[in-house]
């Protein structure tokens, strides 16, 4: 097994083998999913509401364990990892939640800095970096504002900035442009692509937006009724 660190070039960044997910006694949300995503790939995840997109993303950002099957990130089987190793792995994953999950009692700056703060970094070490990113997402004037004072679109951009601050190896976004105008949506996607190209970040974006999917021409994982029935094994060079 590899240590928690840089992935081996030959290993997929994300690998799901025969993964199923079921909550309590209900039917399977996901059934026998197989996915292999190489490092540095850009992927869309699409499907109708209730298809299991958010559940699949939860498996990927390590919020849930699968009911059966195995999840491997950077070649490491997550079921074999200690809780501290899983925490370290989560710090390599940036997540943009559909409901943003910003902390209302923290300012925009503090929300973006959160992943750095919980990993023990000092404010003076990350201050400039956070300020630059907050400015980049167009919230420089609102850096001291608290989330309840921000519009839906501003909150979404803030959530995106928080997901990017760690320069993650994997970026997962659940409907990241749902509350922004088309111009901002394109800007956000260009940022994701830039991150993907410059830092070799593996990007997985769940979206309904077919215009965006067509415009950015990336592989598409399609989910329907818990089944991944198309484009299950993109192999990008």
């Amino acid at each position: 097994m590899t240590q928690a660190g840089a992935p081996l070039a030959t290993e997929p960044a994300v690998e799901l083998n025969g993964v199923s997910l079921r909550y309590d006694t209900a039917d399977d949300i996901l059934t026998d999913i197989d996915i292999r995503l190489k490092p540095g790939t850009f992927n869309f995840l699409t499907g109708p509401s209730g298809a299991g997109k958010s559940s699949l993303l939860k498996l990927l950002y390590l919020a849930h364990a699968p009911t059966s099957g195995e999840v491997r990130l950077f070649g490491q089987r997550t079921a074999d990892m200690s809780r501290n190793q899983l925490s370290a792995l989560r710090r390599r994953i940036g997540v943009v939640f559909q409901d943003f999950r910003l902390l209302d009692h923290l300012t925009a700056f503090e929300n973006v800095a959160l992943p750095l703060r919980v990993s023990g970094e000092k404010p003076e070490d990350y201050r400039d970096e956070v300020v630059d990113l907050v400015r980049w997402v167009g919230l420089g004037e609102r850096i001291h504002a608290f989330p309840p004072a921000l519009s839906g679109g501003e909150q979404q951009r803030l959530a995106i900035a928080r997901a990017l601050i760690n320069k993650p190896d994997i970026l997962i976004a659940d409907e990241p442009t749902g509350n922004v105008d088309p111009d901002m949506a394109r800007r956000i996607f260009r940022l994701f692509i830039e991150l993907n190209r410059r830092l070799n970040t593996t990007v997985i974006i769940a979206t309904h937006d077919m215009h965006i999917i067509r415009e950015f021409k990336a592989p598409v994982l399609k989910l329907q009724d818990g089944l991944l029935f198309a484009d299950t094994a993109y192999e990008q060079a």
């Binding site: 809780r83 990993s119 760690n166």
Partner: protein, 290 residues
């Protein structure tokens, strides 16, 4: 650029204010119950010792002078602190429950009684007194009030157990309620736990945040409760001391070093309960996810 950092956990809200009140109130009750129980226990100890250390010697076939000589003989015995012949007034007071406030009617012969205050085993001493009086040619017999003392001992033993039981029950209730209230306050923060968890914070990091918060809350609230209990106790002690007719049967409330230790320990116990509850709740919450 000067950027102020807010704490990762929000400042106290209404739920924590309710928790503060619960901890303060329970610490107040626990401290007050402990102080009263301790006073009751002390009073029971003193009263039992007093009853057990008293006996009466009934002398007959002699006059008051002979009785006083007998009292001197008894007082000379080891283990006897004091022996004296009861005066007519003392006899009046002793027998007033039988004869009422009018006193003993004239013409009724009064017994000659010697009241003996002793230390240690009065049963052995009673036999020694009987032997000493017989040797001196005095017709007398010592009564250790054994039946009465046994009843008193039994009643006070029950009182002690009740006092200790009350304190234990209240302490356990206080700890349980504090733990439950902490658990409820923490569940309201589950969203924060989730965000920190998914941002990559280790379980220990998250648990420490909540432990520290609830430990400090418990300490402050417990201290408030203890200070309130101290104030109430001080008022009771002051009232009892200034009363013209203090009763031996009332709990002997005081504020000695042990009471101060109880006052100091109570907030720590409350805070510890809150801290442990926070650790357990956060731990469970985190373990329920991956």
């Amino acid at each position: 650029m000067n950027i102020k950092m807010n704490p990762l956990l929000p400042e106290s809200d209404a739920r924590e204010a309710a928790l503060f009140f619960v901890v303060a109130a329970l610490c107040f009750l626990a401290v007050l119950a402990t102080l009263v129980a301790r006073g009751t226990y002390t009073a029971a100890e003193a009263w039992t010792a007093q009853v057990e250390g008293e006996m009466t010697v009934l002398v007959s076939d002699t006059d008051r002078r002979g009785a006083e000589t007998a009292a001197e003989l008894i007082e000379a015995l080891p283990g006897v602190e004091r022996a004296h012949v009861l005066t007519d007034d003392e006899l009046d007071e002793l027998l007033s429950p039988s004869f009422g406030p009018g006193g003993i009617p004239d013409g009724i012969p009064l017994p000659l009684l010697i009241a003996v205050d002793a230390e240690g085993d009065t049963t052995a001493l009673a036999a020694e007194i009987d032997a000493t009086l017989a040797e001196a040619g005095v017709n007398g017999r010592a009564d250790t009030h054994s039946a009465y003392a046994a009843e008193v001992r039994k009643a006070l033993g029950t009182l002690r157990i009740a006092a200790i039981g009350t304190v234990l029950l209240l302490t356990m209730t206080a700890i349980s309620v504090i733990a439950f209230a902490t658990h409820a306050a923490l569940l309201a923060r589950k969203d924060i736990v989730d965000v920190l968890h998914l941002a990559g914070a280790e379980d220990r990091f998250i648990a420490r945040l909540f432990e520290r918060r609830f430990w400090l809350l418990g300490l402050k609230a417990g201290a408030a409760g203890s200070v309130a209990a101290l104030a109430v106790t001080a008022i009771i002690v002051f009232s009892a001391q200034s009363s013209s007719a203090p009763s031996e049967l009332l709990p002997k409330l005081s504020l000695d070093q042990w009471d101060l230790i109880i006052l100091a320990v109570s907030p720590i116990a409350g805070a510890l309960a809150a801290r442990i509850a926070a650790r357990v709740t956060v731990g469970r919450s985190l373990r329920s996810s991956l």
